[in-house]
């Protein structure tokens, strides 16, 4: 029996190092560009986040003089009255320390905690989905290749159809089948007596 033993020679090491350096360089470049875009793009839009917070206050019924006072104080607190380059350095400094700051739209929650709350759900959905997709996909593929004939043709056409369905329309179809036809909502015990729906987003108060 012939056994080939590969050795890591000097030439290979240079190639790997160059590869790693190159990759790291590209990564750093992409990271910086993303950072810069992430900072400047929202700031190029007219208006500012404090406008939005204060508008929400107004929709909550706050009077215009309170809004004026709060606006001025928040501009100062968020540093939005400082020069843009200074804001940028503060931002970069915070990001490097792993601090993504305070959410404007869900003030006063920290962005870190918002991502932290959402991440387990994303992972719990994504990881099984990827695994199931990988296993079923490979099994079907192997089976189709092995069996051939009608199984191959149906499998191929079927998966082509499914994969080219836009996910949002597929989601509506699933919603219809699972929630309306099978009505799995009945499985959820409804114990609460008064359902109460005081509008969403804009309250009618100030409109």
């Amino acid at each position: 029996m012939h056994v080939s033993i590969s050795c890591l020679c000097r030439g290979d090491l240079v190639t790997v190092t160059r590869y790693l350096v190159q990759k790291t360089g590209w990564f750093l470049l992409a990271f910086s560009v993303a950072l810069i875009l992430n900072f400047f793009l929202p700031r190029m839009i007219p208006g500012n986040p404090v406008d939005t917070i204060v508008s929400q206050m107004g929709q909550g019924g706050a009077d215009s003089q309170s809004m004026q006072r709060v606006y001025e104080n928040y501009m100062e607190e968020f540093g939005l009255n400082e020069p843009l380059h200074q804001q940028f350095f503060t931002y970069v400094g915070n990001v490097l320390r792993g601090d993504l700051g305070t959410s404007f739209s869900l003030y006063p929650a920290s962005v870190n905690s918002l991502i932290g709350n959402a991440l387990p759900w994303t992972l719990a959905l994504q990881i099984p989905a990827i695994l199931i997709g990988w296993i079923i996909g490979n099994l079907l593929g192997a089976l189709a290749a092995y069996k051939g004939g009608w199984f191959d043709r149906v499998g191929f056409t079927g998966s082509l159809l499914l994969s080219s369905l836009p996910y949002y329309s597929f989601a509506i179809l699933l919603l219809y089948v699972v929630a309306v036809r099978w009505d799995i909502r009945q499985l959820v015990a409804d114990t609460a007596p008064v359902g109460y729906q005081p509008g969403r987003g804009r309250s009618s108060r100030t409109r």
């Binding site: 839009i45 007219p46 208006g47 500012n48 986040p49 406008d51 939005t52 917070i53 204060v54 508008s55 929400q56 206050m57 909550g60 019924g61 706050a62 009077d63 215009s64 003089q65 309170s66 809004m67 004026q68 006072r69 709060v70 606006y71 104080n73 928040y74 607190e77 305070t102 959410s103 739209s105 869900l106 003030y107 006063p108 929650a109 918002l114 709350n117 409804d190 114990t191 609460a192 007596p193 008064v194 359902g195 109460y196 729906q197 005081p198 509008g199 969403r200 987003g201 804009r202 309250s203 009618s204 108060r205 100030t206 409109r207």
Partner: protein
């Protein structure tokens, strides 16, 4: 909407039900009553003004917080003084009218009226909206630092409900069985209140139709079909147009500093060109009667100040021929080849853009009706719908031709706030000098400002006359153009599960979620 991130009444974006006007969990001293326009007792038993110097408030000695501590004068003083130390709190504006709060004894406080802007009405409005905080809970947090950003998830209030569950799908409130107000105001019948956070209006409206939601604040077009065609046990305040109790007046605000729009007669011509009945029907599903030429809302809290005779005598209605008469006879304008009028000094009437935030479909339709009406009388107005923050930025900066907005709704301060918001230039930075939070078009009129100051301190029986006078200034100058009436809150009832909700035929409680409307829960009984 995202998940509730804080129930702190100090935050700018407060989760249901913790802002000042919801007396469910936190309670203000008094609650605003949409039917009477006055404030009803709650923690405060009574109040008495000492001329224009101060107001003395008697507290109910029975009032206590959920943790058993009594609500005392100290808590009231702490709450009312908080904006002096933490200027970001949403009731910071109260400092403009209340300059100091003093404890007299455990159940009495005296509030000093700010002598620079004396306004008992605004003080009443704040008495009916500032939630009383437990000092023993909040003071230590204040000492720890950034109290405004405190993420309060276990709020301690004094109201009939507390938070049971809060997640991104819903907020569930649980009845406080030993609420201090049970005997005085009646104990709420439901043990829980579920506030689902729907993904969309359609989603919410479907749940309402299915009887899963008993009370809804959504805009539900043609809601009458639910009882007329489908026979569902659904109701609104009135059984016919306008269905809901009006509480505000969304207006179009022309930029009074643009050539052409700076002429009150041009603004009046535009007002004559708007088909208000069509607007009410298409934009707001007939949840409004055709609007009057007045900044006072008839038929509800402000009805006693509304002067129909004066409105009929000097107001405008949809009359395109009158608009054209104003343009041709009074202004001497001539029609260009393109069908648009040009004033005698060569100013072409337009092109002007009328805008509101994208996606606010009822307002977008209102502006389409306005623009269409203007076209028909030879004024060139088109519509534009920017994203919300962009819109607000431009409106506050005064950088617009015509914008749509609502000023203050009905309140214990009467229509005063709305007139102030539309016509008072004091405290408003000029165009290019900073953002405005009222009077976005920087309208200026000394008569209006003098009248505002008179109304602020006037006795009740002098107010009708003064409001008629300032409404007359409004009709002469047309600083804004009313477009429709808007409910303070839409109040859609489905009595599949619970019955006893108020309607105009049985008006035992105001049809509001906020203010005195909270008393409805004591009137409900389950359907057998």
């Amino acid at each position: 909407m995202g998940p509730p991130t804080t129930f702190s009444p100090l935050a700018a974006t407060i989760a249901f039900p913790c802002n000042g006007n919801w007396a469910y969990l936190y309670e203000p001293l008094f609650t605003f009553n949409m039917l009477t326009g006055d404030i009803d007792p709650l923690i405060g038993e009574s109040f008495e003004f000492d001329g224009t110097m101060s107001v003395s408030v008697k507290l109910n000695p029975a009032a206590k917080f959920h943790d058993g501590e009594a609500v005392t004068a100290d808590d009231v003083v702490y709450t009312y003084q908080l904006p002096e130390r933490v200027p970001e709190v949403p009731w910071a504006g109260s400092l403009n009218y209340i300059s100091g709060v003093e404890k007299v004894d455990d159940t009495t406080v005296t509030m000093l009226l700010n002598q620079e802007s004396i306004n008992p009405g605004m003080v009443r409005s704040y008495l009916g909206s500032i939630s009383i905080l437990p000092q023993h809970v909040w003071e230590p947090r204040e000492a720890d630092g950034d109290v405004i950003a405190y993420a309060e998830l276990e709020p301690v209030g004094s109201g009939p409900f507390k938070v049971n569950i809060a997640n991104p799908e819903q907020i569930i409130l649980e009845r406080v069985d030993d609420w201090w107000g049970n005997e005085l105001f009646g104990a709420p019948a439901p043990k829980y209140i579920v506030h689902p956070i729907p993904k969309s209006n359609d989603d919410a409206n479907l749940s309402f139709q299915l009887g899963e939601i008993d009370l809804s604040q959504s805009f539900m077009p043609q809601i009458w079909k639910l009882w007329e065609d489908q026979g569902l046990p659904v109701a609104t305040w009135f059984r016919e147009q306008p269905y809901h109790l009006p509480g505000n007046i969304p207006v179009a605000i022309p930029n009074v500093h643009k050539p052409g729009l700076d002429n009150p007669l041009v603004r009046r011509a535009i007002a004559h060109g708007i088909n208000y009945a069509l607007l009410a029907e298409t934009a707001v599903s007939n949840f409004s009667i055709p609007v009057n030429a007045s900044l006072i809302v008839p038929g509800a809290a402000e009805d006693s100040y509304f002067n129909q005779e004066a409105v009929d005598a000097t107001g405008w209605t949809y009359e395109p021929e009158k608009a054209i008469a104003i343009l041709e006879d009074e202004l001497g304008a001539t029609k260009g080849d393109d069908g648009i009028y040009v004033l005698a000094d060569g100013t072409r009437l337009g092109p002007w853009k009328a805008s509101c935030p994208y996606g606010w479909t009822d307002w977008m339709t209102s502006l389409e009706v306005l623009a269409q009406g203007a076209k028909e009388i030879g004024i060139d107005i088109t519509t534009e719908y920017p994203e919300t923050p962009v819109f607000y930025d431009a409106m506050r900066a005064g950088n617009f031709d015509i914008v749509m907005n609502s000023f203050a709704g009905a309140s214990a301060a009467g229509p005063w706030q709305r007139f102030r918001d539309a016509m008072d230039s004091r405290g408003v930075p000029g165009i290019g000098e900073g953002p405005a939070f009222w009077n976005f078009n920087r309208y200026q009129n000394a008569d209006a400002e003098a009248l505002l100051d008179q109304i602020a301190v006037a006795e009740e029986d002098a107010k009708l006359d003064l409001y008629t006078q300032i409404d007359e200034v409004f009709r002469t100058d047309v600083p804004v153009i009313p477009l429709q009436y808007r409910a303070w809150e839409f109040y859609n009832i489905n009595e599949t599960q619970w019955t006893g909700f108020p309607t105009s035929e049985n008006p035992h409680t105001p049809p509001t979620f906020q203010g005195s409307g909270v008393r409805v829960f004591a009137k409900l009984s389950p359907v057998e």
